[in-house]
Structure formats: C-alpha cells, structure tokens
Subunit: 408 residues, 4 copies
C-alpha cells in the first residue's frame, strides 16, 4: 500500500497550485460576484417579490372566519389565547412555509406587534400597530449586523444617538427579514445610544419608516440559495437617519429590555411552527416511502428506514411536549420563569426538524433536493433557525448557566 | 403541568384545519407552482447559463500550461496519471466548485470521456471524444428517472428499442447534469432494450446529439435552491427519438457493463474533490473563528469549537487516506478489486464534507447561509452527492454484502 | 507515504497468525473459561448475595411510613396511585440502584405482583401475591432463552405441556433477574403449550416454586462485569418439572396475553427510574465539574462541557415529558392506547441515560470507571435496558408500524 | 393532557424524598462501601491474580518461535521493526485482551521498557530492562493521581524530593496498571522535584522496587466492574519512600521529557491493538447476525443492521489507515512530527472500537452483556482508553492547536 506521490504527480501538483492561485482564484472571485449580483438583481427585478391576489383574498377570508391574529393574547385585539392554547394552532400553520402569513401570524410581524403592544405609546400604536393588526402593512426587525459577531449583543456597532429632540441612526444591519415585502412600511432598528450607561441600558429601539431618507436596502440575501420571497432578508444601511425622538420605543436606553421581551415569544412561536414542519415532513417521508418501490419492496421496508421513522416519531413527540412545557411556563411564570425552557426548545426544535427533513430528502431521492417538494426549502428554514434569534451555542450556554447555578 | 387544550383552542384548531385544507392548500400549491416556474424560467432566460470570456481564457491558459485532461490515465490523450497520482490534483481542484472545469476535469464530462475512451468505436471517438478532450463541447449523462426509484437500476422505464438499423428512444430522465451548458452537444442515454435478456444485459447506452428531434429539455432543476449554472441539472423527455444503430455504444445490451465501468472512477473523482472541499471549508472555519470575537474571545475559543476543529481534522485525514486506498486498489486491482472500497468512500466523503461545512456555516453565523461565502453552495454539493451516483444506502448495502460474504 | 509492508513484517505476521491460531487461542479459551467460572463461583459463594440487616430495617421503616407498594394502583393493596402520580415517585427512587427495593417497588417483583393481581386465582394470590406484597419473599421471571433470538417471542423453545392434571416444564432460560436473591421463592415460567393453536394462544405462564425438583439455577450471569447482587441474573434449566395444572396462571394458552399486560407497566416503571438516574448523574457531573480544576479553570468551563450539560438538561426534560405522556395514555386509554408511547420511551430512556452517564464518566476521569461512584453500575443498567424487555430495534419496529399504519 | 400532580402524589413525593435523604442514603452508602470492599478483597484473595502454567508455557513457545519483544525497534534486543512494520502485528495481537502478553508486547511494560531503553543508565538497564525483556518480571507506571484532575499534568501533587544522595517519594497514585501482577517488581513513579524550575523541568521519574518500604498497594480498582486480572489497576500510596539518587531516570527534572517520549509509542500501540479489537468484534457481529434468526430472517437482514455493518467496515478501514499514517510519521519524522497524528488516533481509535463493540453487543442480545463473549470486556477496554493516556478532550485540544497554528 504505497500512497506516496511520484515526482510527476508532485510536479503537476505544484504547477496546479500556482496556476490556481495566480489565475483561477481571481477569475473565480470575479465570476462568483458577478453571478451573485446578477442573480440577486434579476430576482429582485421580477414579480416574485409581489403578493398574489389569491393570497390577499385568502387573508380576507381568514379574517372573516375569525382566524386572525391568533398569536395575540389580548382578547380585544387578538384571539386572547394563552401560549399553551396557541401551540397547536401555530403547529398547524407551521406545516408549510406559507400558512402563517394567511392568518397574520407570521414572523417578524408578530414579534414587532408584541413590541408595540407592550411598549408602544398611544401614538405609535395608532400609527403602526393598528395597520399591522389589520394586515395592511408589514414590518421588519433590524438587529443583526454584518461586521461583528452578533451572537454577542454587546458587539453591536450601529448607533442611535439622541440629538436634542431627534434621534440619529447610523450603521449597517442584515438578515432583516421581511424587508423585501411590498407592504413593508416600518422597521424596528436597534442601536447604541449611551456606551457609558449600565450594560443593559445602553441601547434603544427606534421605529423607522422604510422611506426615511438615509435608509437604503442594499441587497436581498439568499439563505442556502433561497431568497424567501416575497418577504426575504435584506442588508440595510442607515446613514444619518434623523427621526423625532418619539420614534424611540419606550424612550432611550430600553432596547435590551424590549429585545428580551420580544425574543421570548418570538422564539417559542418559531419552535411551535417547527413541530408542525417536522410532522408534515414525516408524513411526506412515510407516504413517499410507502408509494415507491425498490429491490422488490416499498422503500420504507429497506434498511434502517423504519428505525428512522420511529426515531422521528419519538423526536417529534418529545419536542412537542418540550414546547408545550415552555409555553406553560411562559403562561404561568412569565418570561423570567421560562428563560431556560425557551432556550431549550430553541436548541432542540431546529435540530429535530433538520434531521427529519434530511431523512425525508434522502427517502425522496433526487426529488427531495428539487423544489417539487417543500423539503429543500423546509431544510433551509430549519437550518437558518440554528442561527437566527441566537445561535445554538448561545442558548446552550444559557441552559448550562441555569443548570450549574443550582450547585453554586 | 397541564398541557390539555381548552374548548376554545380546540374549536380554533378545528376551524383552522378545515380552513387550511379547504382554502389555503389549493392556493399554496398554485402559488408555489407559479413561483417555481416563473423563477426557473427567469433564471433560464438570463445570462447566468453562459460562459464568461474570462473562463474561456482560463481554459486556454490551463491547456497551454499542460494542466489539461489530468484525469485521463492515457499518456497520449491525457496526463497519464494513475488514480493515486491524480488524487492530490483532484483534491486541489475540489477546493472550489469552479476549478475542475478550468482543467477540463469536470463531471459529467470526465465520466463520459472515459466511456467513449474505453467503449467507443473509432467513429464515435472521432465525433465526440476528440472535441470533448479539446474542451470544445460538453456532454450530459441521462440515467436517473423521475417516475421510479432509480436507486434500483432495474426500475428503469426508458426504452432503447432496436428497430432494424435504427434505435428508438423513449422515456423521461432527470438530474441530467450539465445539460444546460451552452456547449452541451451530446447526451449519453441509457434505456431498456431487451427485457428478456439476462438481468445485466437488458440495457443499452446511446449517444444522442442534443438537437435530435424528440429530445426536449423540459426544465432545469434547482438543488436546494441552486441551479448550478452554467451546467445545471435538467429534466429531459425523449419521444420517439430515432438514431442510427451505430449510436449505441459497444452494441445493444451492454449498458449495465458500461455504467459500472463509468461510475467507479466517476465516484472516486467526486470523493477526491470532496476531500479538497472539506479542507478548504475547515480553513475558512478556522480563519473566521480566529478573526471574529464574541464574549471577549476569538470564536474558536468558545464552547466546543476547538473540539469540532479537531474532529474535522481527524475526519479529513481519515477520509483522504480512505480515498487514496480506493485509488490504489483501482490502480492495482482494477474495478473488480475496488468495488467495496469505492462504495466506502462514496458513503464517507459526502458525510464528512457535509458535517464540516455545517460547522463552518455555524461559525460564520448568518454569513455562512448567504452567497458571500461558498459554504451554502458547498453544502448543497455534498448533500446532493449522498444521492447522486447511488444513495448512501445502496452503497452501504454493497459494503455489507462484501463484508458478510467473508463468512458465508 | 508508504504503508506497504516489508517482507520481514509480512513474515512475522504470517508466523504470528499461525501461532495465535494454533497455540494462543485454545489456551485463551481455556483460561477465559476457567477464570470466568472461578470468578462466578467465588462470587456466588460469598456473602454478597445476602441482604444486610440494615436493609431489612429500612424496609420495615418504609412500610411503617406508608411508603410501600407505591407502584400498585389498587388503593387497598398498594398506594392507589395512577401512573402519572407514580411517575415522580419512581423517578425519585430511580436516582440510585438501591432505593426502589426499599419501598418494595423493584423489578421484577412489581411486574410479577401485577400479573398475580390481574390474572392470579384466589389461591395463587393467597400463596404468592400476599407474601410478595408483604416483602417476605421475592420472585423471578423466566422468559428469555440462551439458545434462540428471544427478541422474536415465537422463537421460544421451552415447553409447558399439559399432561392430565399436571403441567410439565422443560427448557432453559436466562437473564432471570432476581433469581439469586436469598428470598426468591417463586418463578414465573413461560413456555410453549400448543404449537397448533393461534399464534398468540400457544404459550402458558406457570408459577414454579424455586425448589421444585428439576429446577436448577445453573449459574449467575454478570452484565458488563456486574453480578448485581443480591438479586442477580440467572441461567436456569427446567428438566421434566412437574406441577399441578393450577400452577398455570389463568389457564393454558394465555401466556402471550399476560406477557403483554405485564410488560407495559414494567417498561414504563423502568423508564421512570431512568429519568431519575439521568437526573442524578447530571447532578454528579455538574458537581464534579465545578469542584475540580484543570488548565486553570473548573472543568465545566473547558471545551464543550457546558454544551454537553445543556444537551443533557434538554434531553432529560424531553424524556420526562415523554414518560409522563405514556403514563397519561396508560391511565386514560389503557395499554391498547399506549402501545406506541410505551415503546417510544423504552427506546428513548436508556439512550438518554446512557449518553449522560457516559459524559459523567468522562468528566469524572478515571474515578468514573471505578466503583467509587455509582456511574459504572448505572451505565451498565442503562445499557442492559437497551436489550431487556425487548431490544431497541423491536420497539422501533412497533413505533414505525403504528406510524405507517396512519397512511395505509 | 394533564401532567400536573395530585395533592396525594405530591405528599408522597415529599415524604419519599425526606425518607430517602434521612434513611436510605446513609444505609446505601454504607452497604455500597461494604460490598465494594468485600468484593475487592475476595477477588484480591483468590487465584485470579495468578498466572496459569499454560500461559507461561505459551510465552516460552512464543519466545522460541522468535515472536518476542516485537515492539522494540532495536534489532538486537527486540525485533527491529519500524512502527509501520509493527502495526499489523500489534493489530493481530489486539484481537483479544490476551495475546499481546504472550509475546511480551503488553502495556505498560512495553512503554516502561522503552523508557529504560532510551533513558536508563547501564546499571538501570541491567537491573530492570534485561529481566523485563526476558519476561521474568513485570512493571507498573505510576502517574495519575486520585485527588486532582490528572488530565492537566501540572496538577500533579506527588513529590520526588532530592535529599543529598537520596530521593524521597511521597504521594498517592492510582490506575497504576499491572501493579497487581504476581511478577510485578518495579514501578516507575513520577513526582514533583523542583516547583521553581521551568514548567517542563520540575518533575522526575524514579524506578521504585515494589517492595521498598513506604510503598503500599492500597487496593485494586475495577474498571466498569472488571479488575482485569492478573495485572489489574492499583491505587498506591508512597510514604517517605527513600531511594538512592541513581534510581532517578536520566537525573532529576527530566520527568516531562521522558513522559512525552514514553506516551507517544505507548498510545500508538494501544491504537494498533484497538484496530484489531474492532476487526475481531465486527467478525463476531457478522457471524452472530448470520447464525441467529428472528422474524423469519437472519438477524443481519433486519432493520439497519447491514447499514451498521457497512459503517463499521468504513470506520475500521479509515482508522487503520490513520494509525498507519501516524506510525509512518513517527518512523520518518520522529515524535515531534507525529504529535498531532498520535493525538488524532488516540481520539479516533477508542471511539470507533467502542461504537462497533456496542453494536456487536446489541446484535448478540443478552449474551453480549455476559462474559460468554469477550464483548463486555472489550467495551470496557475501549471506554477506558478514552481516559487513559490523556482524555479525548486533551488530545482534541492538541489537534486543534496544531490546526489553528497554521493560520496564526
């Protein structure tokens, strides 16, 4: 067994390396960039960022049927359901990437509406919460930044400086989900106001009309090849954006507090939907595996497929219960009593969904990779949620801190 | 801990389910299909399926530099390298999705050239092998079918019926990689010729000029959102395609034999490239993890990141050695002696690459999901190779058969 | 890189192989057998199979305190608790390998008492159930056989043949847990009675006094090196064991039915205890990791340890909820409605426990492998439960069957 | 779904917890300690710590056959084989826990002999190396300590203080493998000599005749229930042990240097043997799976068993190549060039072996847990090697450091 390389192979290798470094890499970078930009531009320019009349009609019917704003615990403005009560509804909607928007229960608007509901002034509610609840407009949330590791919120570089009765915003944000939607009218921007204040009182949240001068959507970002039209994910620059001081939610310095309050329910809703996504995926896997035949048997009967189906069932059932557990804690003990629980499901849910979707792709064969089935898109959604709203590792850190806190 | 549902939640759930089934799902299917087709069409219509002048110039330079057709063991037509000698070169090219085409070493052309080299008639070589070796044209391979589980080759439904001195092709193929390339001129089609012959002598391989009447590229397929321009993956229909009998490679009934011969080296080349892809990915992960800081430390120093880097190094080193082992067996014992070894690396390589890329995405944060880094595309390539050229499970089955054969 | 072997290495290898085959292996087999038997004998001969006076005193106190037979739903004979109510109690006891016996809640006696409770005649209850409930005697369950794959119950080779007003038992059983206990007085034996009856009516369960002629405890079996004194696990032969027909529980042919009824609660109790074992183990891991220091930090702060602690917390919380879910189904829908749920926890619980114990061993260093901590014993208990009461794969098969049944 | 607890369950739980804490736990600790000590004593007192005449005869024959001291690269004293050449021989011996001692190739003696060979004085060689090479005596290595995290060698608390022409040893060591062997005559002790010297020059290694006053083997330690007779693993105290200064190997302060030199080849030998252990285990799994039948098929044909066999084959082949790679680096570049490679295999080998043995246990059913097959013992050996000679995490740390060093 001689894996040693001949002189001619080594000579080829050396020349190949030099050629790639000198010739190929510059062209590759250029071609990749041109293609990426052309592609993004073309996709931007087309109608896929529009909302179909059929969808608008669906929203109208849903509202008429009383299936509207189901996420909002307020019985006057929403359905008045607890988190435990909302869980099966969000799960049902989560079976596809499409349904939750029909019922005005989609991220990031639900989180933004909750922020306005809990922290907004009467005027802010009137201007933004009302049309959001009515589904007339949509919104985006601008927190993550391209130039720093945003998993550590103290890295945030964007600024929201108070200048007399104005606030001035500067900085660059990305992964601002929903910013490409034709109905998007308002952004919630988070920035540094006072670096000398207490660690958790340095930042502010500001309501920014999308057409404010100085706000530029630089580009829309694909996630694993998907632009997730019509909402999408944008990179946005803020350059000397001036707004009256009353655009600041709850006053300067309360950004962290609001972010915490926003992210709790937001994360739990994502997890509820992921349970539905995992359920629907397992159903697709079972159906495909029963329908198609190879080597004389339905595919489900080959190799370890039945074991994988069993493991998927076990994983989903565990996950659903853990999500209900977090919802019940949130209902009965508030966010303070549910912090570890919310981080637990934030780690568990995308992991479970991702694994089951991967299995479903495999059992679908090549079809699973295509867009003929919703699997490739679903996988991307689950994968993205291992980073969005805090990467796994940050949530694991919080869970471990609570656990070790018992013994200190 | 009461996770029981209230009457009003159950009522909502029932109405929601009915509404989704009756109203949402039909619209969703419609909207998804419209968007998919519109998107595919728009992408098809644009210049991303073209080859840039810079790329053509690179190819010219590469050929001039003697870095051309490195894969071909024939010293006159190619570089005359053994598989062990080619391994580090393919690894080097595999560090990006881009380089192997520069050196005329890209799938599926390499496999198709080998088929023509080993089985083609003088005339076939003259017409197709020569321009392929010169990089003047490109080719596709049409084997997998959308309507059956193609992991079991005996499921193949397409036909290649001999009719006098003609052969008539009918059927539908997909995942025909490279068929979207502007230089693609010829397809190798595999179909059923004689269902009564011995199991391994029923099929034929036929050379089909892409402009033959009855050949229609129905659509290009995205894999996890990527169309992989400019080659892409196509769905192709063959309707009463008539060709002279000498378009059949090596005569009717030899399709299986040729497929076996083609897939061995083809798979090993994929695996060599995946080693390079994994190496490059680990480099990207290390660099990013050293450059960015969170919670007061370089990201590599947080949590289990160093353990994951170590595991990645271990996995890559093991994988490279296993690939060399398969190459060495192929060189010294031929395909017959390397069958288990080739299946072993076909299982191991995408798995290792996929896992390391997933880690690299995580350490890159949101950037890892975008197209600013080659990670999302690389992940898709690795994932696709768990299905392409035979799904993992089929290769595991072969390895187990060899293993158990020792004791029977 | 040349891994090829020199002639002298190959020569050594050949001679080594021959020598090992001809000389070493026979001696090794001999020495292993001698040592195993000597060891078993010595352990058998010693006092470790006795019950300490302290333990008997503990049982007396527990009974006095009303903490006795907590597992039995009957309010007169036991505590009258539902499965959901019993779950936290069993979890609490499961934190060690020791506590459940104190409260007369230990396997296999709990299962055997339930069999007698549900299926026993008045006379059988009087003779065996009463003293078992009083903790005066203990029992064993003889189902698994050494000579066949007992995961498939139809493989069972032991016989229970009806001969007039007698039943005659023949066969060999093993992994009869508890049979080494000094108080063990009665065995429940399962054997084939009528091979021509319906598949599920061929077997019988028979109550066998341990001193019946023809019953021989051939040896006690170690599990991963542990004999689990004082109950242990035995291999037992039955040779023409004659008993009056009324020793058959519920009459001939009802063995399968009884086994099903016995194993449901038995499995759920194991899983409840495993939750407690996992909890206790995580506590030990946290404490050790906080107490010991390496490389200038508490061990919990090194590498991926906090991530593993978080994953353990997530896994335990999910597992506990899944166990409660199965208990709740058993309480509200009976065994028929809980079959998949019971198999789900039977797969999940040992897996979770085993993984957390493995982590705890690692964080304890060498101490984790010793008997200074209960970790090595706990690992063995969890590992054994991936086989006992049905191997994982059989339970996964059942779960998959239920899952696929939804679509057929 | 109500998992809430009733008042009576909560009342039981509270009383149960109090009872366990007040009554059960003290007795449990007492009983566990008594049993552990009684068991250890009984095992210590019996003949299982002796060497059978058959074994001695085997050693004689092996030496006669020239199959002796194969590990030693010196052609005069050993077989003169390189590490690459020794790899297949060690693999062959590693197929059982028994064979390597036959050929005088067993840990820890091989490592100790290498220490003496490279660092011993003429007198030390004459007194200890010669009889070790002749198989007349055996030895132990005393490094790990019970009271500190020994994964960090700077934690070492034992002392070797120079006092004139004497050295005085104090401290407590454990996991001193081989110390229970009836032929064990000499220990290599490592202790702190000069806390003010450079970090790597503070420690010394001392040769200690086992019968030196002040040396006490406090007890033998079981690993996962196994004492691994006749060598075993001991806890040893050193109390004012006085030895002449020439008992120090290579002079005071060279302990770290010698430890590094000792552990490199020692670890690689362990890994070579683990390859053989994994191979033998896979063979046992295949044979059992082919021989036994359940649900109408050989067990290998059920569920994912063939996939697991394939994955085992892939893992073993990768592991063997990685071990050869480390051996080749050690042969060609010395320990300095092989440091990462040795740590890589130290992580990979026990992991691969452990996983395959676990599978083999599962496919053997209950038999796999017993001592009827060598699987339970083999699992323990593999598990222990994830801690012995440095825990996984320390080796992962070293590999990551080398990897990241490329980019700094």
């Amino acid at each position: 067994m001689d894996f040693g390389q001949s002189a001619r192979s080594l000579d080829h290798l050396e020349r190949l390396r030099s050629f790639i470094a000198a010739e190929v890499e510059p062209v590759e970078r250029h071609v990749r960039a041109v293609r990426r930009d052309a592609l993004a531009q073309r996709r931007d320019a087309t109608g896929s960022w529009s909302v179909s009349p059929e969808f608008r009609e669906l929203q109208r019917k849903a509202r008429e049927a009383g299936l509207w704003n189901l996420f909002l615990p307020d019985p006057d403005l929403g359905a008045g359901l607890s988190n435990v009560e909302y869980a099966p509804l969000a799960e049902e909607m989560g079976r596809s990437m499409f349904a939750s928007a029909v019922f005005n229960c989609d991220a990031p608007d639900t989180g933004n509406m909750e922020v306005l509901y809990h922290y907004g002034s009467a005027e802010q509610k009137d201007r933004w919460l009302r049309p959001l609840l009515d589904g007339e407009i949509r919104s985006a949330f601008c927190m993550t930044e391209p130039d720093v590791a945003s998993s550590d919120a103290t890295n945030m570089a964007a600024t929201a400086v108070v200048d007399g009765d104005e606030v001035i915003l500067n900085g660059r944000k990305w992964w601002s989900t929903g910013i490409g939607h034709p109905d998007c009218r308002v952004l919630i921007f988070m920035g540094l106001t006072d670096p000398n204040a207490h660690k958790y009182q340095q930042h502010s949240m500001v309501l920014v009309p999308i057409d404010t001068p100085g706000v530029t959507v630089e580009r829309m970002l694909p996630a694993m090849g998907y632009f997730d039209e019509p909402g999408g994910h944008g990179e946005v620059s803020f350059t000397d954006v001036r707004l009256p001081l009353d655009a600041v939610i709850a006053g300067p310095g309360r950004g962290f507090e609001i972010a915490q309050g926003r992210l709790g329910p937001g994360r739990i809703h994502h997890c509820m939907r992921l349970v539905g996504l995992a359920e629907h995926t397992l159903e697709l896997a079972c159906r495909r595996g029963l329908d198609r035949t190879a080597f004389g048997k339905p595919i489900v009967d080959l190799g370890g497929n039945r074991e994988r189906i069993a493991d998927a069932r076990i994983a989903i059932n565990q996950l659903r219960l853990l999500v209900l557990h977090a919802a019940w804690l949130l209902d009965t003990q508030g966010l303070a009593g549910a912090r570890s629980a919310v981080s637990e499901i934030k780690v568990a849910a995308p992991r479970v969904a991702q694994q089951i979707i991967d299995f479903a792709i495999q059992i679908h064969g090549g079809a699973g990779l295509s867009d003929d089935f919703p699997l490739a898109g679903a996988w991307t959604a689950a994968r993205a949620l291992r980073l969005a709203d805090g990467p796994d590792e940050v949530h694991q850190g919080l869970v471990a801190r609570f656990e070790l806190g018992k013994y200190n």
